[in-house]
């Protein structure tokens, strides 16, 4: 089935899958966003416990999606994996560090004799929520603004600044994406609380937080989007492989791929509707609109970065070292083999969906927290 596809078709197929994983990850950062709100929304110990527990039953999905995103990128576009992870060392190490401290915090927070005290583990969750989202968003910003690397004959990466990726924060467009992801995660977190916690105070404060975070989110995201459409981009000639700067490249991409543009706009509208729903109508389904919209927007942004002869991981230092989905990908054989594995994805999504429904049929409340045998 997949064997007959061209190498380019497989590369595009895998770019779509990897982009979808990235998009699902951003949606699932509602866990991170929620973590940054545990003190803002949870004013009492019981409230905080409810918030931590409702997030605690989902944190592993975010974590696993991040790991799978890394693994899938490695398998399908190994040159990106080698170049970005090996090059932007400090950025990725910082991201990893903030995910390491998250992984223990739920389980250890309430356990007696936990060495560091509940508060420290809560701070770990807040740090993970804040830096995890900002750093990942800023790192993804380099897909549009480039990074400082070159590749030698053996395709080995040579990073050209001693800051090993941290210099990305000097480009405001990158930071704007980082902050957009951060505030979006907080919006999603608050929407998730509205959807999953049965408590009047939590509901009221979550609504407020949706509104408070929607404002900076819109400012940063619109700045990111408008500047993206206006800026020059990294194009390449498929015949020669030559990478060059093209004015309004991403605008051209939007025009060249109308379906993508429509889905991007649908995604933006869905996010806005998800935000407005609890504020205007008091509904609890906002997370699904905003979450679905987030998936669409991020997915389309990734496609915008890699499709239509665009270098998805450009180099500012040596334009010709920039990575495209064609130069960075695995062989035809490996992509074919992996494509068969990708057929399992709908099955995986199906059992996760079933699980989610089984676990979230009833909202979390204070009573459950006092009766449940395993509480974070």
């Amino acid at each position: 089935m997949f064997e007959s596809l061209s190498h380019l078709a497989l590369q595009q197929y895998w770019w779509i899958i990897v982009s979808l994983l990235g998009a699902l990850f951003v949606f699932l950062t509602f866990v991170q966003g929620g973590q940054t709100l545990i003190y803002t929304i949870g004013k009492t110990e019981t409230e905080r416990t409810m918030l931590v527990n409702t997030l605690g039953r989902k944190w592993e999905f975010t974590f696993t999606t991040l790991v799978t995103f890394g693994g899938a990128f490695f398998a399908s576009f190994p040159l990106f994996y080698a170049t970005s992870f090996g090059g932007a060392y400090w950025v990725w190490m910082a991201i990893l560090f903030f995910f390491v401290i998250q992984a223990v915090s739920y389980e250890y927070r309430k356990k007696p004799d936990n060495l560091l005290g509940a508060k420290t583990y809560e701070i770990f969750l807040i740090l993970n929520g804040a830096f995890g989202t900002i750093l990942v968003g800023t790192a993804v910003g380099t897909f549009f603004n480039g990074a400082m690397f070159s590749l030698n004959d053996m395709n080995n990466v040579l990073w050209q600044t001693p800051f090993r990726g941290l210099e990305a924060v000097l480009t405001f467009h990158n930071v704007a994406l980082g902050l957009s992801v951060f505030f979006l995660a907080r919006i999603l977190g608050a929407l998730y609380f509205i959807n999953s916690v049965d408590d009047e105070n939590v509901l009221a404060r979550s609504k407020k937080q949706v509104l408070y975070n929607a404002i900076p989110f819109l400012v940063f995201f619109l700045y990111f989007l408008i500047w993206l459409v206006l800026k020059e981009g990294f194009a390449y000639d498929p015949a020669t492989g030559n990478v060059f700067m093209e004015k309004y490249k991403y605008l051209h991409n939007l025009i060249a791929m109308p379906l993508l543009t429509v889905l991007l706009l649908v995604g933006v509208v869905a996010v806005l509707w998800g935000i407005a729903l609890p504020l205007l109508k008091g509904g609890s389904k906002g997370i699904w609109f905003a979450g679905g919209g987030t998936v669409l927007v991020v997915w389309m942004l990734f496609l915008l970065a890699g499709f239509n002869n665009t270098a998805f991981y450009p180099s500012n230092y040596d334009l010709q070292s920039s990575l495209t989905i064609q130069t960075a990908s695995s062989s035809h054989f490996t992509l074919t083999a992996m494509s068969y594995v990708s057929l399992f994805v709908p099955f995986v999504i199906a059992y996760i969906w079933w699980f989610w429904r089984a676990m979230n049929t009833k909202k979390i409340d204070a009573k459950e927290m006092s009766e449940e045998s395993h509480v974070y």
Binding site: F61, F63, L79, A82, V100, S373
Partner: protein, 525 residues
């Protein structure tokens, strides 16, 4: 092609990988085994409806949860470290190595993380049978994730199912099934997972023994020991068989590693197995600190030959044969391999230069020559040796490999005896009175962890200097970055992992002291 490589960078990068892998490996074996033990216990609960079994299941599940969290924390680093610290390697083999990691995420991690949540929080949300299914799927998911990472590791030790592509300067996969079912991968998976089963069984017996010594939770402890003793005994026998088969595999594919962990310097026919040995600390070869002999050894004649080749009189090459070569047995000298490796690297370089200068005809002819079976078999096969400047660099740390291997095997044998005794005392019903054995059971827990770590050292130290056997040494695989950057992250992770480990142990001990508490349903809070 290979610019100046700072060896201290290689060593710090290795140290960081070793640190993170060894920390991760403290927690993984328990997860691999205890999930199955919990699944057995819950199965009995569902079959019998006896709330005592639910109490038992939930207690071990609590300890599993504490262990699992830190296992996840230490594991994420490893997945990304291939890129951050071994980026040249990541490109060189990403076409093959990435696939198992991706499959691990898609098929195993999601299974594990979805069903583990049902295991912990689903008692009142799904039916008994669905809960039991979730517990089994968590165990299977955990072991499946071990499968894929071990397939990847086995491939590094025995690269199969691939072909080097000079255009992209990397190895590309030509057979997925060869990678998945390589004998090294099969042995590695079976041996590693069964070692996890053994460790978990010892963990359960040891902690239950503590309850018996304290005369607390007698029924709980007896039942737990009964399950763990049977599971541990079967697993430990299996462990011996898979270990034996692994050793044979190593002898054939990684003869230097085999010689190192057997402490065999000079090969011979009918080689003897050193059952016990003490390496010399004075009799060191001045050119290489790894070349020392034994001060004392107890040797069993011919057994090593049989172990390696199923032939009592077969020739087993020693470290010196592999370095200096041995014409009689057709072993090529290391210097010759290094020379051939350099020819392969040089040819690749010529090809790259021809491509760069646009001389397509020359490039095509060089490529044809490079890809010819003769060149592949006689030159490319030794590609990695081209990076080696001194033959002594090809010798791993023999003393560390030797002691780790013997410690692992010795403890493995002891564990079989331990499980037999545990089982016997359970059957006879005399376990509570065997206070000496119960104390021993507690002390066997750290021994299981030592054996497990020793196994990891045997596998990873013994294969040095290769990241990919014969094709890529560590010094060619490492990311070019300042040594100080790696030092900073090394100490950062050393500090955070150590703090988290202390927290984990304290929490675990406290939960053990609290013990299984009965609520109205027989579960614990």
């Amino acid at each position: 092609m290979l610019e100046s490589i700072d060896l201290s960078l290689v060593n710090w990068s290795r140290a960081q990988f070793a640190l993170t892998a060894m920390y991760h490996w403290i927690f993984v074996p328990l997860t691999l085994g205890i999930t199955f033990i919990i699944a057995f216990m819950e199965t009995i609960y569902v079959k019998t409806g006896n709330p005592e079994w639910k109490k038992i299941t939930k207690f071990w599940m609590t300890l599993f949860g504490i262990n699992f969290a830190i296992g996840v924390a230490t594991g994420i680093i490893l997945e990304f470290e291939f890129g951050t610290n071994w980026s040249n390697y990541s490109w060189f083999v990403g076409d093959i190595f990435g696939a198992p990691l991706a499959i691990e995420g898609i098929l195993a991690f999601f299974m594990e993380s979805t069903f583990i949540a049902i295991m912990f929080f689903g008692w009142n949300k799904v039916s008994k049978k669905v809960h039991l299914l979730a517990t089994w799927l968590t165990a299977i998911g955990a072991n499946l994730s071990a499968l894929w990472i071990l397939v990847a590791n086995a491939w590094m030790q025995m690269p199969v199912g691939m072909q080097f592509n000079p255009e992209t300067a990397r190895n590309e996969m030509v057979s997925f099934w060869d990678v998945l079912f390589s004998p090294m991968a099969v042995d590695k998976f079976l041996h590693t997972t069964s070692s996890g089963f053994v460790l978990a069984a010892i963990f359960v017996i040891g902690i239950s023994a503590w309850f018996l010594l304290k005369r607390r939770e007698i029924v709980f402890a007896r039942k737990s020991i009964a399950i763990a003793a049977v599971f541990g005994f079967v697993s430990s026998i299996y462990l011996v068989f898979t270990g034996d088969s692994s050793a044979r595999n190593v002898a054939q594919n990684q003869p230097m590693k085999f010689a190192a962990f057997e402490g065999l310097y000079n090969g011979s026919e009918g080689a003897g197995l050193i059952a016990l040995g003490l390496m010399s600390t004075t009799d060191t070869d001045p050119s290489n600190e790894n070349l020392m002999d034994f001060n004392m050894k107890i040797e069993i004649p011919n057994v090593l030959s049989y172990m390696a080749y199923m032939d009592w009189n077969a020739f087993v090459p020693g470290v010196n044969d592999l370095i200096r070569g041995n014409e009689k047995y057709g072993i090529m000298a290391a210097t010759e391999k290094m020379e051939r490796g350099r020819v392969a690297i040089e040819k690749l370089k010529e090809f790259k230069e021809a491509k760069k200068s646009g001389d397509e005809a020359l490039a095509a002819s060089l490529k044809t020559e490079f890809m010819s079976p003769d060149f592949q078999e006689n030159y490319f096969k030794y590609f990695g040796y081209g990076y080696i400047s001194d033959p002594n660099m090809l010798i791993p740390n023999v003393a560390l490999s030797f002691y780790s291997f013997h410690l692992m095997v010795g403890l493995g044998m002891y564990f079989i005896l331990f499980f037999i005794l545990a089982f016997l005392f359970v059957v006879k019903g005399t376990l509570d009175r065997r206070r000496g054995f119960l104390r021993l059971a507690i002390w066997t827990i750290p021994m299981a962890y030592i054996a497990s770590q020793a196994g990891w050292i045997v596998a990873e130290v013994g294969r040095q200097p290769w990241v990919i056997q014969d094709l890529m040494p560590t010094l060619a695989a490492v990311t070019k970055i300042s040594t100080s950057a790696v030092q900073v992250t090394f100490w950062l992770f050393a500090a955070i992992f150590t703090i988290l480990l202390i927290a984990e142990i304290k929490i675990m001990l406290r939960q053990i002291k609290i013990g299984p508490k009965i609520n109205e349903e027989g579960g614990h809070n």
